[in-house]
Amino acid sequence: MTYILGMGFARPENIIDNQFLEELNTGTTAQWIVEKIGIHTRKSTLPIEYIREHRNQDPRMGRRVALSSPTDLAVAAAEIALERAGISASDVGMIICNCCTPDYLSPSEGQRIAQRLGIRGLAYDVFSACPAFALHMDYLDNFSPDALPSYVLCISTATVSQRVNYNDRTDGAIWGDGAAAWIVSSRKTGRLKVLDTTFMADPTRCGAVIVNTLGHFQQDGRAVRDFSVRQTVRLIRSLEERFALDWKKDIFIGHQANRTMLQQIVDNREIPDESHWHNVETCGNQAGASSAIVLAEHWENLVAGRRIVVAVVGAGLSWGSVLLEVQ
């Protein structure tokens, strides 16, 4: 049986609000953003004045002026996760990392984070962008229990705002930066017990969401939105059927892509507000870190006996779910 022993998160300080985006004169308005995607603010590693003046037309300049990197955010998140798990970095035997906006293609992001934390075990990247939480938990479930060390550090980090073209009226409104980290063990018990994991993909549609290595983020918004809502609903339905979920007690966390999409999903499954945890309206879409950040934000007030559904979708196109039980 697998457990999550500690979780942490980190976000940059700079806030991009809708008024700022409206003042960029790209054709969007604060009202449109709230109505269409339900996001009010998002956090960015980019200086606000830089965005205002340069619109991040050249990601190389964005990288140079960025106030923190995906690695910085990941290390900060990991330190919180380690502390909450009651272990030190030297106890970690393996790191797996997901990062869709690495500053370096080599060494891998996982190895760079391991170097920063002083972790000497196995370190590498297991990558599928936004559904990272489900991918990592499903990936670890593949291993024979004795093939994994006592503590595995999972990290998902991204600074997608550094890959946004702020002349685009939509993309700038979506993305926020952030990192999540969580400690997993199949040998030690912890706060969250993993009851079920899934991960699946339809790579024939992988062109719908891209981040050009030397350029910007692009997506087929409508196609991705339809896929996201449909697939998340399917994931939840499957768990409802297999585990008799009770939305009076159980919790849902979706991929934090946009608030209106999440509302469609919870309306479809009749999930009440108090059972739906989210942060997209203040933090934006934090890519593969987003759902894990929501969970990490609630770490200190998890209630024993409750089950938590994390159902996530994203680039690839890929999707997955994790069902957890609070111990």
Partner: protein
């Protein structure tokens, strides 16, 4: 137990010859007379030396995904399978054109597959990293057939305007189909995948920039090779048979490699160094030459791959040939 049922490789047609590199002002930093297959547009290379990466990537052909697809199809064909029998695709690419989606997803998409696909990225590539990892999975979690693909185009990320940076690098792809149920081909009898984050990587690649090589740390190579040779010697199931083996160990410093092998007293049989023939394809190299030799192995022969370059990742894999491969 894990079996490699088929292995494939692909290299682009253009080559960066010694003459061309000397013409560009690149001085030798390794073996000479290398083939160095490359995706680069040579006319643009002569004019720009890769100073404008956007221009370089736009003009390059084939792409990493193109190469990966070709290697994958060859691996599937050699395994005697059809693409629709693949249940999982794992990718590896240090030079992707898009950092999202993963290279594994792009290649799976090309193959028309609707199966789980993602990247396990270590810079070490398929062998031993992917194979070592898959060999520790619970059998019921592994699909009947898994496709592993590594594809790299480091020549697109070299600044050819100075020094010796570009002397060793080449582009290509390798792939293999593995199974824990279909027991034929190459049986994986030993593997080790190690990461030493106390070391410096032999090269660094800025996502938005060029490759920066840090050279080979001879002491680190000796230490890693020594550790792997000891581990191989300690495994009584295979140690005797290794003297009749064929090993693939790519290292840019040929004299260092020969010195290490001599000092070790020949724990391995024939050692083939792909860097010395075709250049450094990053993580693709480890399986590339094995795939290129597919069909020439003898039944029950031991085949090995070593990755010991003094970098962060090192390891190895040993296979026993079953029913000819």
């Amino acid at each position: 137990m894990l079996f490699v049922l088929g292995a494939g490789s692909f290299a682009p047609g253009e080559q960066l010859t010694d003459e061309l590199l000397r013409e560009l002002g690149v001085s030798p930093d390794g073996p000479v007379n290398l083939q160095r297959p490359s995706t680069l547009n040579l006319e643009l290379l002569r004019a720009s030396r890769n100073s404008d990466l956007l221009q370089t990537v736009k003009a390059a052909s084939p792409s990493c995904t193109d190469m990966g697809e070709q290697a994958a199809r060859q691996a599937v064909e050699r395994a005697g399978l059809t693409v629709d029998q693949i249940g999982l695709v794992i990718g590896d690419c240090a030079t992707p054109v898009e950092v999202t989606p993963s290279e594994g997803q792009r290649i799976a998409g090309r193959l028309g597959l609707k199966v789980p696909a993602y990247d396990i990225y270590t810079t070490q590539g398929i062998c031993p990293a992917h194979l070592s990892i898959l060999s520790t999975w619970r059998k019921e979690r592994l699909p009947r057939y898994t496709l592993c693909v590594s594809t790299n185009a480091p020549t697109q990320r070299i600044d050819y305007s100075h020094g010796s940076e570009g002397w060793m690098f080449a582009d290509g792809a390798s792939a293999c189909v593995v199974s824990a149920e279909d027991m034929r081909g190459l049986e994986l009898v030993w593997s080790r995948f190690s990461v030493d984050t106390a070391r410096t990587s032999t090269f660094e690649l800025d996502t938005l920039g060029h490759i920066r090589s840090h050279g080979i740390d001879a002491a680190a190579v000796r230490a890693q090779a020594g550790e792997l040779f000891s581990a191989l010697a300690d495994d009584v199931r295979i140690s005797e048979d290794l003297r009749k083996s064929m090993f693939f160990w790519s290292l840019a410093d040929l004299p260092l490699q020969q010195d290490i092998l001599q000092a070790a007293g020949g724990p391995l049989g024939e050692v083939i160094n792909s860097h010395a023939e075709i250049g450094n394809m990053l993580g693709t190299s480890s399986l590339y030459q094995l795939a290129a030799h597919w069909g020439s192995f003898e039944d029950k022969q031991m085949i090995g791959v070593l990755v010991a370059e003094g970098s962060i990742n090192y390891g190895g894999a040993v296979f026993r040939v079953r029913r000819g491969a």
